[in-house]
Symmetry: C2
Subunit: 322 residues, 2 copies
């Protein structure tokens, strides 16, 4: 059980990622093309990795049952749109089937509701939805054609952490220009692959006893080893307001995050608390048409610039002093 | 633990279904309108309840984590289309967000891919997808306007079983004309509501120990109490081919199903075994463009007619003999 909490053994025993080489190549190309000086200011665009949606924990190797974390992926998808608008290149590391950028307005149950067949018997979008769909298509195409959006999907905790490691070690090459916006709901517990039932667990044997191991805390590894210069933002979601800020403070210190975004399940679309070292800002949306993410990303992009500038000035001072 | 395996206590302790009265009223109206003799043959349309998608088992009352069962809902959605085509009225009891009838052709990751903006700057469906989308809209509208499709969504095992009971006791009023096609992947284990953690389980305390109770076997209750005359089809999904047919046979006998559809996780789209009393038919699809469900539903509708006819003839014989 001790071994399972160590990052090295987690990766050593995880089922290997499919198409790892192809994904690595895509990542390299994406980072390279967004690092040419023509892509952004002097040194290329800032690059953010947005993680989004919940991870699953398989309970069986040939998976029928799994533990899942609640997350629609709405926050990650919306944030991706605003990061792109703010000039970032975005690696959107998302749960398969979760909410996608520019698709948030889709009706939940059936997209058929907003399609019509017109007089020339062509399928078209109903007039009521036309404006919003047109804008979405335009923005989506711009991001894809401009090469500033890379989508990488995951389902299990094993896929997620292997992809995160791959993205982080790649993004570390852009140093301070890198950002991690860790909005995914990552499982705290898992069943190590080798101790997992091979086949579907049979129900005839009475109640089911399960013992889940803790997932190693990869935030520390991300910070200390994978991408030590990147600007790191993690999220804290709780259901109990009494412990929220305290847990966010603990995460700040323990994992040396630059920022922790704290939110409650009941109000996460209305309000978040941005916790930095020694500062707490509550951000609220004023009406339900507004995206809270617009304000969050504006603030974060600003803090990221200050962080880059501060580090460069600091470095210059050190160099000058030497 | 014994109490939790009894259907009565399961329902007594489950969190109550939202909008239960409104759903009950919709159901009554749906069954009544499809039972007028003009709706189908002499006695109205046959009515099938198709269950589809997986149920979740919340691990916390304010739910962040839950156990889920693998199921895209593809089989239930496809089967619904073919039941409608075969003249059935369908109650589609489905997992929220799972695959919907007439939407199966949708690209997985982004619907934006098949929309274009045309010369008059109107949004339209790309030509490559036009035929299939037009047919889908036509079929969907026909089913909805004809009043032969009723969609009822669920997420948790608590919602699913309460809805199933409500549907079954309503459908029992149409006697032999009723059918249950139980394709949903229903959890075998759950955490009783009153023994569930109120808030998000904290990860600081080391490994997580969980003890899950068995969900009471509601198939027996459906068969014996809720809708004793309905034609019942259950599904058996396994990952181990060695025990599949044996488990299907056991389910036939134990729950007195009319038919059990047995399938393996690895091949469920290619092949199923239809198990009836004393008979096993393997149904395979010949190519990947074909829906296996078309063949399954054709066979089931035929068996259902024979079942109705057989029961009526049997009843007449008894009456004549008296």
């Amino acid at each position: 059980m001790v071994a399972a909490q160590d990052p090295e053994s987690f990766f050593a025993t995880a089922p290997p990622l499919r198409d790892a080489d192809a994904i690595a190549a895509k990542l390299q190309a994406f980072i390279a093309s967004n690092s040419r000086s023509s892509a952004g200011g002097g040194n290329g665009r800032p690059i953010v990795c947005v993680t989004s949606g919940g991870t699953t924990v398989p309970l069986e190797q040939r998976c029928v049952r799994y533990i899942d974390n609640f997350s629609s992926g709405h926050r990650g998808a919306a944030s991706t749109e605003y990061f792109l608008k703010a000039g970032y290149a975005v690696i959107f590391l998302h749960r398969r089937g979760s909410c996608q950028p520019y698709c948030r307005f889709l009706p939940d149950d059936s997209f058929l509701k907003f399609l019509d067949v017109n007089e020339e018997s062509k399928v078209q979008v109903a007039e009521s939805h036309e404006t919003v769909v047109k804008k979405a298509i335009g923005d989506y195409c711009k991001a894809m054609e401009g090469g500033s959006l890379l989508k990488l999907p995951f389902t299990t905790i094993f896929e997620y952490l292997q992809l995160l490691r791959m993205v982080a070690t790649s993004v570390s090459s852009v140093g301070l220009r890198g950002m991690f916006y860790l909005a995914a709901a990552v499982s705290d517990f898992y069943v190590p692959w080798e101790s997992m039932a091979k086949h579907k667990i049979q129900s005839a044997g009475g109640p089911l006893e399960m013992r889940l191991s803790q997932v190693p805390k990869m935030l520390s590894v991300l910070r200390n080893q994978w991408a030590p210069l990147a600007f790191c933002i993690s999220f804290k979601l709780e259901t109990d307001s009494d412990i929220l800020v305290q847990k966010a403070d603990m995460a700040m210190k323990k994992y040396k995050m630059n920022i922790v975004v704290a939110n409650l399940l009941a109000t996460y679309r209305e309000e978040v608390i941005i916790v930095t070292n020694g500062e707490k800002n509550t951000i609220r949306r004023c009406n339900s048409d507004e995206d809270l993410e617009e304000k969050i990303i504006k603030l974060l992009a600003h803090k990221h610039s200050k962080y880059i500038y501060g580090s460069l000035v600091g470095a210059t001072r050190v160099e000058t002093a030497l």
